[in-house]
């Protein structure tokens, strides 16, 4: 099996498995006052400190959650509610059309049910949000509850300069949230240095467990809870701490961040070879997102393991099925909660037409990726594309 879908999820790191297994064998609620509770709390707090250190945050800025979707919902809704309560004229949310659905749908829910107004940021053809676009959208900022811009796009891998965006947001007095689910462990992410007010991260994209994530939230950022109860996590996220998951999350983040530079270089090399190999066999293939060698603020402008390609005249669905039958696993990168592939909102958001959006595939490399994986794809891609083109585009 050739797994080229690390942006969907990643294999659990052996260190993570060991640490979680050890913790799962222990009893103790981190909120209990006795020795078992204290031991659990100590373990959870060590994990909090470890995660904070890996991401340039203070331990008190780490709120453990159930994953990326929850963190995005908590940040968008919680900050919106808190900011509007402090000043009722702050009803506007500024965000981009290429955000993950966890942000987009939260924003649209607030617009539909809770009086929010949305200003959509202009996005460059690469998928990047520029400081200029954010400045223009914010205006004087007095009516803005929050802005949310993803650090790196989950489909096309484009990175934005969050430090520059945070500076613009703060000029207008607006808090900035970022979904950094794909960025952590892939590009340098320093929460404190970036200046962003809230940052979403999750475990299973970097070798950690599913169902474990965090929202990094500055001490001075106010955020209303979604989950009420025992008052854990600064009273912003109640619920018994899942200590084993938290340990796994912290170990994964630590290992991923520590090995980031070497891995990024290796994955970029593999990714470049993958793209060059596909281009050689399918000359009219189109690369979506930023150029492979794009540089932004001294770091990569594109996630090193991301290759997002459109194959004109072939449907992504058909390509995926044919590759799946040849044991090569990738993604069309489009939302399909209903099981029906819709043209990617990200590609449409950066100005691609519906056919280009529907003819795309996302290949994402990770820790376990090897030259053999790239070779496996290159062995089959030409006949697969030819076959899919014969089936054509079902709607055009």
């Amino acid at each position: 099996m050739t797994y080229l879908d690390h942006a969907a999820t990643t294999p659990v790191l052996p260190e993570v498995l060991a640490a979680m297994t050890e913790q799962l064998g222990r009893v103790g609620n981190a909120s209990s006052l006795h020795a078992s509770g204290r031991a659990a709390r100590r373990t959870a707090e060590q994990a909090r400190e470890r995660l904070a250190a890996a991401l340039g945050a203070r331990p008190s800025e780490v709120l453990f959650t159930g994953g990326g979707t929850e963190s995005d919902n908590l940040a968008v809704k919680g900050i919106f509610w808190a900011r509007r309560e402090a000043d009722p004229q702050r009803r506007r949310i500024v965000t981009s059309p290429v955000e993950h659905h966890a942000v987009l749908d939260s924003v649209e829910w607030l617009a539909k049910h809770d009086g929010a107004e949305v200003t959509w940021l202009a996005v460059e053809p690469s998928g990047r949000v520029t400081p200029g676009a954010l400045r223009e959208a914010l205006g004087d900022g007095t009516d803005v509850a929050l802005a949310s811009v993803m650090w790196a796009n989950n489909e096309i891998g484009t990175v934005s300069d969050l430090a520059a965006l945070a500076a613009v947001a703060h000029e207008a007095g607006v808090p900035l949230h970022t979904d950094a689910v794909q960025a952590v462990g892939q590009v340098p992410v320093d929460f404190g240095a970036s200046g962003v007010d809230a940052l979403t991260m999750t475990g299973h994209k970097l070798g950690g467990p599913m169902g474990a994530g965090a929202l990094l939230l500055r001490r001075d950022a106010s955020c209303m809870p979604l989950l009420h109860g025992g008052g854990q996590e600064r009273d912003v996220r109640s619920g018994t701490l899942d200590v084993a998951a938290i340990v796994g999350l912290a170990v994964a983040a630590d290992v991923a961040v520590a090995g980031r530079e070497d891995r990024a270089e290796r994955l970029a090399g593999l990714r470049d070879r993958l793209v060059a190999g596909v281009v050689r066999q399918v000359p009219d293939v189109q690369l979506n997102g930023a150029p492979l060698d794009d540089v932004l603020a001294g770091g990569p402008g594109r996630l090193p393991g991301n290759a997002h390609l459109s194959f004109p005249g072939a449907e992504g669905d058909a390509l995926l099925m044919l590759l799946d039958a040849r044991e090569v696993e990738c993604s069309t990168g489009s939302a399909c909660s209903a099981g029906v592939a819709r043209p990617s909102h990200v590609l449409l958001g950066v100005g691609a037409d519906a056919d280009r959006a529907r003819s795309s595939l996302r290949f994402t490399l990770g820790t376990t990726s090897t030259d053999a994986d790239v070779d496996a794809l290159l062995d089959v891609i030409a006949p697969v594309v030819e076959r899919a083109r014969r089936a054509g585009m079902s709607r055009s």
Binding site: D324, G339, R387
Partner: protein
């Protein structure tokens, strides 16, 4: 063979896919998303293409260990089946959307795409027998679906596999239960999947608007009532006419004239026909030599009627019925069978009823 199993989420297509796996085929499951406005669990409605049905189909595919994908054919389905359905009613005819779906979607759009992608055939859970290119009724007369497959050509049938034709629905459910499929006890689907509430007249009213017109009694030529849309009627219909004529005898719809929106009604003695005309026929095999003796079925759940079939001068069929029939509605298919008690009645083909 490499086959594509069309899996609706119902028990029939689940068992058909399972039997295809048992037969040693290389099976890939596909759920066809046909509705452009997919019903979710939250909205509660049930049709053949809700998200819940896709989930049910996926569950079975996962248990069978076969790949499973959803193909979005909503645009094709809307154009070729739903819009056609509305246009046919608007023209005063009574279409069969399941037949149209088999003709245009399952054994056209899907089969063509499957063949292009390297598959040899499409497997469905239809209740009909198909062997050596010969299409026959199911052994389960009550569940037989050969009527809605009669429109298929030899080319299309060559790419079709119907594993369920030789067994009863009861047996299908038993197989599903033995295998632990959650859909074993799932209710049978509605006749018209895109009208999940079953209110065809309401659906047509939303699409076509109110189009009031007269109800005319055939015997007297008098207008005996008003209706809000001729599309709400089918030739042969007795219930729901909303009129009471003096003699109190039951009235039937005899004809629908869409331009003047006139619906003609009459008593039973006027409602019978002894000859049916069709447009150009399609044949499931080589075109038979005419004239011939056969049986004809005039609607999806109608009884077969012995008849003599001959060609008309304009490329259609003239079908002389041995016994008069009521409710011969233009737009339905006249499906011709050669009776065969042993192997199952053989489907020769069909022609669209013109009058």
């Amino acid at each position: 063979m490499r086959v594509l199993a069309a899996m609706s989420g119902g028990v029939d297509s689940a068992v058909a896919a399972a039997l295809a796996v048992d037969a040693g085929h290389d099976v890939t499951g596909v759920h066809l998303a046909l509705s452009p406005d997919r019903q979710t669990l939250r909205s509660g409605a049930r049709g053949c293409c809700s998200v819940e049905d896709a989930h049910d189909a996926r569950r079975v595919a996962d248990e069978l260990g076969i790949p499973f994908y959803v193909w979005d054919l909503a645009e094709r389905f809307t154009a070729d089946v739903v819009d056609d359905f509305v246009a046919e009613y608007a023209a005063g005819r009574t279409p069969n959307p399941c037949l149209r779906c088999n003709e245009k979607i399952k054994f056209s759009a899907v089969l063509d795409r499957a063949r292009a992608l390297g598959f040899d055939a499409v497997v469905t859970g239809h209740h009909a027998r198909l062997a050596d290119g010969v299409l026959r009724r199911s052994v389960d007369a009550a569940k037989d679906q050969s009527y809605v497959l009669a429109v298929l050509t030899p080319e299309q049938l060559a790419g079709a596999v119907f594993p369920l034709g030789g067994m009863t629905k009861e047996r299908v459910r038993a197989i599903a239960a033995e295998r632990g499929f959650a859909v074993a006890t799932k209710a049978d689907s509605h006749d018209i999947c895109f009208i999940p509430d079953g209110d065809t007249r309401g659906f047509l009213t939303r699409r076509l608007g109110e189009q009031p017109g007269p109800l005319v009694d055939a015997a007297t030529g008098e207008t005996v009532g008003e209706h809000s849309g001729a599309y709400g009627f089918t030739v042969g219909q007795r219930r729901g006419l909303g009129v009471s004529v003096g003699d109190q005898r039951p009235r039937y719809v005899l004809g629908i004239e869409p331009v003047s929106r006139t619906v003609t009604i009459g008593t039973a003695d006027l409602a019978g026909v002894s000859e049916v005309r069709t447009g150009a026929p399609t044949w499931t095999g080589a075109a038979p030599r005419l004239p011939l003796r056969a049986q004809v079925q005039l609607r999806a759940h109608g009884a077969p009627v012995p008849c003599a079939v001959d060609a008309t001068g304009d490329g259609g069929l003239a079908i002389a019925l041995d016994t008069e029939q009521r409710g011969v509605a233009p737009g339905q298919s006249a499906v011709l069978y050669l009776p065969d008690a042993e192997r199952g009645d053989r489907v020769l083909g069909q022609g669209p009823v013109t009058r």
